[in-house]
């Protein structure tokens, strides 16, 4: 009976571990690696020698060898991490720069202008129109509770109307209590709550912001998008004021030859509700493929504040009335610049960006 090929394994392993511990640089490690774990290493030689054993003995020896190999490989990887960290530390140290010592006047700065994002500049243009009409601008958070995004807007839990919005839920609190806002409308609720608490009604505000819907992106939709919302709460406000504001805005933003019109629609937070359409900016109302030959393009939704919403925020509907409207900022950009595919907006391709100023 010959002695086991693994008779000296413990010593051999200790030798390898010592060799690993002695490696001083990553280059050394790379050089030594084949001899430690590679095909010509002692471990591989031992592996080959197992072939001559009986099956049972071979299995046992194989397991033993495998265990040794794991240990050696783990030591090697640990050493690699340590050496890499040391190498990085050396590199970083040699790279060190005290930024307080930068002589700003000596830095060459080529004169070339950048470009604002199309969405941001569109949002600014929209804000400017509304500011000119007497609106202030307000903002709200992107992560909302279900109360602000839905229930206070007269969309109770499990209500079928929630199906109108494909909602992203956030893993916080009870299931489905935290959402990425599906519209800018929750900001209305925040504004009204603040105004009621501060006794500072009326409100005339627009609220731009980023919203999210669980929609697979396509040429006309992005899962993240921007809306601008308008809210007026004042005495004696009627549907005629809503229609007038929409019309004034439409002409101011799109041009004097673009008109607006309203048609009945349903939103849980407004009643009466309307969709508003504007003259197709492509064909100027003649009828084309973009507007399905109708001469009109649907832009957004609007309506008189639903009494249930006023009640949710504690505003007396006998004294105050108001309206809200909302539409897509990205959509306005798409219309104005005739961008066939919305996805261009998130590509951040400088060849696209440099067209806008």
């Amino acid at each position: 009976m010959t002695s086991s090929p693994l008779a000296n394994l413990a010593t051999q392993k200790a030798g390898l571990l010592a060799a690993i511990a002695a490696l001083a640089t990553l280059d050394d490690l790379r050089e030594a690696e084949p001899a430690i774990t590679g095909k010509r290493s002692i471990l591989s030689t031992l592996q080959k020698s197992l072939g001559s054993l009986e099956p049972d003995a071979r299995r046992e020896a194989g397991a033993q060898l495998q265990e040794a190999r794991r240990e050696v490989e783990a030591a090697l990887e640990l050493r690699r991490t340590v050496l890499a960290a040391a190498a990085r530390a050396v590199l970083l140290e040699s790279d060190r720069l005290d930024l307080g010592d930068v002589v700003v006047g000596a830095v060459r700065w080529p004169a070339s202008a950048g470009h604002p994002g199309l969405v941001a500049s569109t949002q600014r243009a929209l804000e400017d129109v509304f500011v000119g009409m007497g609106f202030t601008v307000a903002e709200g958070p992107e992560v909302e509770s279900d109360w602000y995004n839905f229930e206070a807007l007269n969309i109770p839990p499990a209500h079928p109307a929630r199906g109108m919005w494909d909602t992203f839920y956030v893993d916080l609190g009870e299931p489905e209590t935290v959402v990425l806002r599906t519209h800018t409308s929750p900001t209305q609720i925040h504004l009204m709550e603040v105004a009621v608490a501060a006794d500072s009604l009326p409100i005339h505000s627009v609220m731009p912001g980023r919203c999210y819907r669980r929609d697979t992106p396509d040429a006309r939709h992005l899962a993240a998008f921007h809306q601008i919302e308008g809210l007026v709460v004042d005495r004696g406000i009627t549907f005629a004021d809503l229609a007038g504001v929409i019309e004034t805005f439409t002409r101011a933003y799109f041009g004097p030859d673009i008109e607006s019109r309203l048609r009945p629609a349903f939103f849980p937070f407004t009643e009466p509700s309307a969709e508003f359409e504007v003259t197709c900016t492509i064909c100027r109302g003649e009828g084309c493929r973009t507007c399905s030959q109708t001469g009109w393009i649907e832009l957004g939704g609007c309506g008189m504040l639903d009494p249930a919403v006023l009640e949710a925020v504690g505003i007396d509907g006998e004294v105050w009335s108001g309206f809200a409207f909302g539409f897509g900022v990205d959509r306005c950009a798409q219309m104005r610049h005739q961008i066939a595919d919305m996805r261009a907006l998130i590509e951040n391709d400088t060849r696209f960006l440099r067209q806008f100023s």
């Binding site: 010592d101 602000y148 499990a158 079928p160 009870e174 669980r214 993240a224 509700s273």
Partner: protein, 824 residues
């Protein structure tokens, strides 16, 4: 919902053109999303019989087909193979014009003449089927040469695809749409013809019904139909269903579907032989019960779902043995389905609580034509009228059908239609125009509302088909919307309101605009990078840390809310490098998100049902991040960019302070804090992107330095944290300044900005101190460098004398040496 014009015309006279009707429907809020013309342009198409098929030499894709279209053999080259000799198919002869204006002409192919075209259903605009020719044998008893329209009993028709809004439960039917049109156009609405039950045999002699949970099931009617022979429906029924996009199945199922489309009442037919005790009862499902629905899925009932406010409540229909037959109002079970051998039918027509249906439907992920209608609210009074219509239709194919007398009719809880007081002036206060009582009354009565003048008010009671109409103030708004809708939104007045309060931007909004303008002026391209990213991206910088996670992401790469914009910007820069356009500065202003358990400042807000719960939401921190990616960019140019930005934003004194703590993703030894000297607050960071992050995100690029500026806009917008320069003007002296240079060998531990500030404070004569050169070299002591400052002295009162200048210079040198900086 698809509704054909011919169907609408059964209910109301509509001589208007298709375009005019589209306009009217849109204006009524019944938005037409599409129009299909059926059977138009098929006048020239005839039925042909396939008599012979020959191969064409050298052609393997097409064959020569010889057909008889009533006038002897015609040779046609055809690519389809889905037919056999003797089949009948549609044939467009030479000269025919197909839908879409396609003119059929004689064609030469492979030396053979083709004298017309054999057509697929899609080519005829009859369906989307384009797999082969439309083979007619199964549909009709065709005759060669017969007009196709006649063979299919088709009349050219128009189908409107109407989008019905959530507050129009009544408009989910042909009758409902017709009612709107009739009211708007001032024309009578015709009622469909109905059957009457047999007088002699009572329903309760055969069947039984009950409601255990009256709040879930408001009404359960069960009718018994005997002598049913299951077979095909009459062709008009088939066409109606097809025009609405439904597939004909059998006369019983078709009648049920037709009634639902026409009147809005879903009904459910059961094979009576397969319903134990001929009994139908509605009750709440019990935990542990299961049901295999018609779609073959086994469903666990009464199991609470994840959704907010979902108790797991399911309403089911059970038989006499208390076995579950179906999910009420949503989908039936397989066990009691109508089959070819069914002879007795139990027909259920019911009213279910809309919210209960909505919750069940959502929880089981099961939507059906029935559940769509029930969850919006079916007219509780409609059931038996719908059954009478069902019987009328089924009798056409089953003339001996027997409908037993006194259908079972059990009531639970149904909503009471509200009565709303419309006061004088309410319409004007809502719409800005006063409409006459007569006009309001005509509109509302046309829609089925009951209007009763009492005193100066109108008391308006909603019809049972309008469960969307609420009571009280909300109901008043609902009624006003109906009045406005029928009057036409387009006719309502417009007025642009004015108010005394000025519009404008907040300081923060103005700051944001200013930042954007300055950044753009300095060469920054504004990017929009994703808010949602992958775990892998998050772990690159914050391995193992808590993150804000999306429960239901579209893809796993979009499941984590960003904690920085750095990753997105570097990746966007990398994409531009790939395109060869990477020589660029990319910046973004936006929110980054911190998990409420990892931040001292979570957002605390109301949430949960009724807003009764206090929720801790992620901190949303608005930041400005700019990545400097031009060829020569590095930490130095980043400092220059920041410096210009800070100057333009009017920041009084923000120090670029090197610190041992670089945030994740920043180069650990080439990053500095931006510290407001007055508040001590860190407004942001400037430096370089960590090379490891760059190579992880942009493998293409090796050893390229990326500068970075990252600023906290929340802090920048807060004047107590980001100190602004004084608004008071400092008019420069009219007397000449004296300019000297001072270079100090300064220990590395002393920041140049601190030394500069000390020099400024050292003498009242100092007008400005500016660093202009830094020298490091072997001639200097270890851990030190030479800082050279350009110092301007001046006085507002006089030209400074030599002595004064020397005195000030000495004061500066003394001050510097107190910091360890030695004049060189």
């Amino acid at each position: 919902m698809k509704i054909s014009l011919s169907w609408l015309r059964e209910f109301v006279d509509l001589p208007e053109s298709m375009e005019d009707l589209r306009t009217i429907l849109d204006d009524l809020g019944l938005v037409v999303e599409g129009i299909e013309r059926v059977g138009e342009g098929l006048e020239d198409v005839v039925v042909a019989r396939i008599d012979e098929v020959r191969t064409i030499e050298g052609a393997d894709r097409v064959r020569l087909v010889i057909v008889d279209a009533g006038h002897g053999p015609v040779e046609i080259v055809c690519g389809a193979t889905n037919f056999e000799l003797g089949n009948y198919v549609p044939f467009a002869p030479v000269g025919a014009v197909l839908p879409g204006g396609f003119v059929i002409a004689t064609r030469q192919m492979r030396g053979v003449t083709s004298n017309g075209m054999l057509c697929s259903a899609r080519e005829l605009g009859l369906s989307d089927d384009h797999l082969g020719l439309m083979v007619l044998d199964e549909l009709t008893t065709p005759r060669a040469g017969q007009s196709l329209l006649e063979a299919l009993a088709l009349e050219p028709d128009v189908v409107f695809d109407i989008s019905v809004e959530g507050n129009r439960p009544d408009a989910w039917s042909v009758e409902g749409v017709a009612r709107d049109l009739a009211t708007r156009l001032g024309r009578p609405l015709r009622a469909p013809s109905l059957a009457t039950p047999e007088a002699d045999v009572m329903t309760d002699s055969f069947a039984h019904a009950g409601i255990d949970d009256p709040e879930l099931c408001g009404r359960l009617t069960v009718s018994v139909l005997r002598g049913v022979k299951v077979g095909p429906s009459p062709s008009w029924v088939v066409q109606r269903l097809q025009s609405a996009g439904m597939r004909p199945i059998s006369n019983v199922v078709d009648a049920s579907n037709l009634v639902m489309l026409e009147l809005g009442q879903p009904t459910h037919p059961y094979d009576a032989a397969r319903v134990a005790g001929h009994t139908l009862r509605a009750r709440r499902a019990r935990p542990g019960e299961t049901l295999e629905t018609l779609d073959g899925v086994r469903r666990e009932l009464a199991k609470a779902g994840r959704g907010l406010g979902d108790t797991g409540e399911d309403c089911v229909i059970v038989d006499g043995d208390d076995h579950v037959l179906g999910l009420a109002g949503i989908m039936g079970g397989a066990s009691s389905e109508i089959s070819a051998s069914t002879s007795d039918v139990l027909l259920e027509a019911a009213f279910f609580d809309p919210m209960a249906i909505a919750r069940s439907s959502k929880r089981h992920g099961l939507r059906s034509e029935a559940s769509n209608r029930f969850e919006r609210g079916v007219d509780p009074n409609l059931a038996l009228r719908a059954v009478a219509r069902f019987v009328k239709i089924l009798r056409e194919s089953v003339p001996d059908l027997q409908w037993l007398a006194n259908p079972l009719d059990v009531w639970g809880t149904v909503p009471t239609p509200p009565t709303i007081e419309l006061r004088v002036g309410d319409i004007e206060r809502g719409l800005g125009v006063e409409l006459s009582s007569a006009e309001v009354t005509t509109s509302l009565e046309g829609l089925g509302f009951r209007v009763e003048p009492r005193g100066s008010s109108l008391f308006v009671t909603a019809p049972s088909s309008r469960l969307d109409v609420r009571s009280g103030t909300a109901g008043r708004a609902d009624v006003i919307e109906e009045v406005a809708r029928l009057y036409s939104y387009r006719r309502l007045p417009r007025r642009t309101p004015i108010w005394a309060a000025p519009g404008g931007l907040t300081d923060r909004q103005r700051l944001r605009r200013q930042i954007r303008d300055v950044a753009v002026d300095l060469g920054v391209f504004e990017a929009w990078t994703p808010t949602l990213g992958s775990d892998a991206d998050f772990d690159l910088l914050y391995a193992g840390q808590l993150r804000v996670r999306i429960t239901n992401p579209l893809a796993s790469e979009e499941s984590v809310m960003r904690a920085t914009m750095l990753t997105g910007l570097v990746r966007a820069w990398g994409k531009n490098v790939e395109r060869g356009t990477g020589d660029v500065l990319l910046g973004e202003m936006g929110a980054v998100f911190a998990h409420p358990d990892t931040t001292d400042e979570p957002r605390v807000t109301r949430g949960g049902v009724g807003g009764a719960v206090t929720l801790r939401l992620p901190r949303e921190n608005e930041r400005l991040t700019i990545v400097l990616g031009r060829l020569d960019d590095d930490a130095t140019t980043a400092v220059a960019l920041w410096s210009a930005l800070a100057d333009r934003l009017g920041l009084a004194d923000v120090v670029v302070r090197t610190s041992g703590q670089a945030p994740p993703g920043f180069h650990p030894t080439r990053t500095a804090l931006l510290v407001d000297r007055a508040s001590g607050f860190t407004l942001g960071f400037v430096g370089e992107v960590d090379g490891e992050l760059v190579s992880a995100l942009v493998p293409l690029v090796t050893s390229r330095r990326l500068g970075v500026v990252d600023v906290d806009l929340d802090a920048l917008a807060d004047p107590s944290l980001a100190t602004r320069r004084s608004a008071l003007a400092n008019v420069p002296s009219r007397y000449p300044s004296a300019v000297i240079d001072l270079a100090f060998v300064t220990p590395s531990t002393v920041h140049s900005a601190d030394l500069a500030q000390a020099l400024r404070d050292a003498s009242t004569l100092v007008e400005e101190v500016a660093l202009f050169d830094v020298y490091r070299g072997a001639t200097l002591p270890d851990a030190s460098r030479s800082l050279a400052f350009n110092v301007r002295f001046s006085s507002t009162e006089r030209t400074l004398s030599e002595e004064e200048i020397n005195g000030a210079r000495a004061a500066l040198i003394t001050t510097a040496s107190s910091l360890g900086a030695v004049l060189r």
